[in-house]
């Protein structure tokens, strides 16, 4: 089963395809789900490789412990649940059993339904803190892919390292940004638009909003660079520094609270190198029920808000 290149797909749909690619490449994968495999899409991998997949019931902490044991025995362990519950229900197990062994164990976490676009389930299922939690686990790489192709390649990329990693996927279908010729690399951002007045740095579902915001701004004569910063950790420092040096103002946009995620990571690079005026777009409160696209409007994760944030940052240039 070779992966399709859909024009519109949810990033979570890429998860099983990434796993299949890894098995084909000879990686000794074991994938585990915790009674949400129909949502994480892990079950599709289980159908192809029943010997390499298991479900542990609604028991996220147990899942992490089992994955740590598998990794210690040489396997590449993938575990998946909603981003609200992985890391939410098993943070200490991730910290002690996975992150603290020297260098971290080879466990890859896939948090699906990240952010508020879970929609109707409401706040308990909407993760606005998973990136904060996962970036705080020292050896972990943290990645938020923006489309199907990038998500598939991110799963493959983390599966080929021996470090622990967290990949956040989303529930709704989003338009394709990349084709098969795209090459995702951990820690390397992707510039989607050149620009000189401001840089819009986004991840996940906000990348599309950033591109649209750049169009709005272009109509006003503002030249906005757009950078897809899929890897939150390790952050692409060179790209952030170049954005500050060449455009002088920065906006970050993420489907997450503005503390501990993309915005915080970018701000730190700026503070340590070339401070530049910056605006943060994110969700700094708990979610609510509603249709996912309605919620993007309700929480102002929109091109209009990103564009406004850009004007604000530009106005603060000295």
């Amino acid at each position: 089963m070779s992966a399709p290149t859909p024009t519109s797909a949810a990033t979570r749909e890429a998860y099983p395809f990434g796993l299949l690619d890894l098995v084909e490449a000879g990686v000794d994968v074991v994938a585990i789900d915790a009674d949400l495999s129909v949502s994480t899409m892990g079950y599709q991998f289980g159908e192809k490789h029943p010997d390499r997949w298991m479900t542990v019931g609604v028991a996220e902490a147990n899942m992490v412990g089992i994955a740590a044991g598998l990794a210690a025995a040489g396997k590449t362990a993938f575990i998946a649940s909603f981003a609200a519950f992985l890391p939410g229900r098993c943070f200490d197990q991730l910290r002690t059993s996975v992150a603290q062994p020297k260098g971290g164990l080879n466990v890859k976490c896939v948090g699906s339904h990240g952010g508020i676009t879970v929609g109707e389930d409401g706040m308990s299922a909407q993760a606005v803190e998973d990136l904060s939690l996962m970036t705080s686990l020292i050896p972990f790489d943290v990645i938020v892919p923006a489309d199907f192709e990038e998500a598939r390649q991110a799963i493959v990329a983390v599966g080929k390292t021996t470090r622990p990693a967290y990949v956040r996927t989303g529930r709704p279908k989003v338009p394709a940004i990349y084709g098969r010729d795209y090459r995702f690399e951990i820690g390397r951002s992707n510039k989607l638009r050149e620009g000189s007045d401001v840089t819009l740095i986004a991840c996940g579902i906000l990348v599309e909003a950033a591109v649209k915001a750049a169009d709005f701004l272009a109509n006003e004569g503002i030249s906005a660079r757009v950078v897809n910063m899929a890897t939150i950790k390790p952050i692409d420092r060179e790209a952030v520094i170049a954005a500050a040096r060449e455009t002088g103002a920065i906006v970050t946009a993420e489907e997450h609270q503005t503390t501990g995620g993309l915005g915080s990571a970018v701000a730190r690079v700026l503070a340590e190198t070339i401070p530049a005026p910056m605006s943060f777009v994110g969700v700094d409160r708990y979610g609510t029920s509603g249709k996912w696209d309605e919620l993007l409007g309700y929480f102002e994760l929109t091109p209009a808000r990103v564009a406004q944030a850009a004007r604000d940052a530009i106005a603060r240039k000295r």
Binding site: L36, G57, E120, L295
Partner: protein
């Protein structure tokens, strides 16, 4: 303070209420085109018997400090929960049609304080029994005789926290104040519990020092009887294990894992309403 209000209605009346609750459940989920009908329908008899004949409560005073607490630990069963609250008089049944829509207090998973009668925030499984221990301990400290009734799913029993709490209830001697109820419908999110993660609810609770009362969860008289028995003082905490059918009352949802979290379409809704009107066979 007036005395605890228990409606004390007949089994026939309970069955009529159950029909109305089932109809609300499928309508709400159909209107929202999302939500959890299966585990809502399986719990109806437990909920109706509890809310009318056993739970000491006063819908006009949802903050009455001496009230019994109903804690929905399987927090996705909100169509069930909100229908009960509305039928019991906590808020208007008109609110039900807003379920899961932007701006409605009736959130996808119960959110504490969002609407009258919601005693805890749920949606992340496994947390209700622990919450009950805190409530029960506080009631004992304050000399109130209110009790906690906790509804758990059988899939939910996979969560380790349930057993941390199950161990603590007898340890703290809170058996006179906490009653657990397990909706044993045999299906969880991904499929049948026997293939996803096998549990033995009655044996497991017994092993943790509980007195287990088993009943047919759709026989209203039997459920009502089981809850009465659970209320009687006993040296051990009581757990009612109700053997139920997920999706009960709607033929195409019964014992069908795909209706754990899926809404019926318009035709299916019409069928469901017609079947519910006939009552359980």
């Amino acid at each position: 303070m007036s005395s605890p209000t228990i409606a004390s209605v007949s089994v026939d009346e309970l069955r009529d209420i159950a029909k109305r609750v089932r109809a609300h459940i499928v309508r709400m989920v159909a209107a929202a085109q999302s939500g959890h009908p299966g585990g809502s329908l399986s719990a109806v008899e437990l909920g109706v018997s509890l809310f009318w004949n056993h739970l000491r409560c006063d819908p006009s005073r949802p903050d009455w400090p001496d009230r019994d607490r109903f804690l929905l630990s399987k927090g996705h069963a909100t169509p069930f929960y909100y229908s009960l609250l509305a039928e019991r008089g906590y808020f208007s049944t008109d609110l039900l049609s807003g379920f899961r829509t932007l701006g409605s207090p009736l959130q996808g998973h119960a959110s504490m304080n969002a609407a009258p009668g919601i005693e805890m925030s749920g949606g992340s499984l496994g947390q209700g029994l622990s919450f009950a221990i805190g409530q029960a301990k506080a009631a004992r400290m304050d000399g109130r005789d209110s009790r906690c009734w906790v509804l758990l799913g059988d899939g939910e029993l996979n969560e380790g926290q349930v057993w941390e709490a199950a161990m603590a209830v007898p340890h703290f001697g809170l058996g006179d104040r906490i009653i657990a109820m397990v909706d044993r419908n045999g299906i969880q999110n991904d499929g049948f519990a026997d293939t996803i993660m096998r549990t033995h609810p009655a044996d497991m609770f017994r092993g943790f020092g509980w007195q287990v009362i088993e009943c047919d969860g759709h026989d209203m008289a039997a459920v009502d009887q089981a809850l009465s028995e659970a209320e009687r003082p006993h040296e051990k905490p009581r757990c009612v294990v109700a053997y139920t059918i997920k999706g009960r009352g709607v033929s195409y949802m019964e014992n069908n894992p795909s209706f754990h979290g899926k809404a019926p379409n318009a035709d299916q809704l019409a069928t469901a309403i017609a079947e519910i009107e006939l009552g359980l066979k």
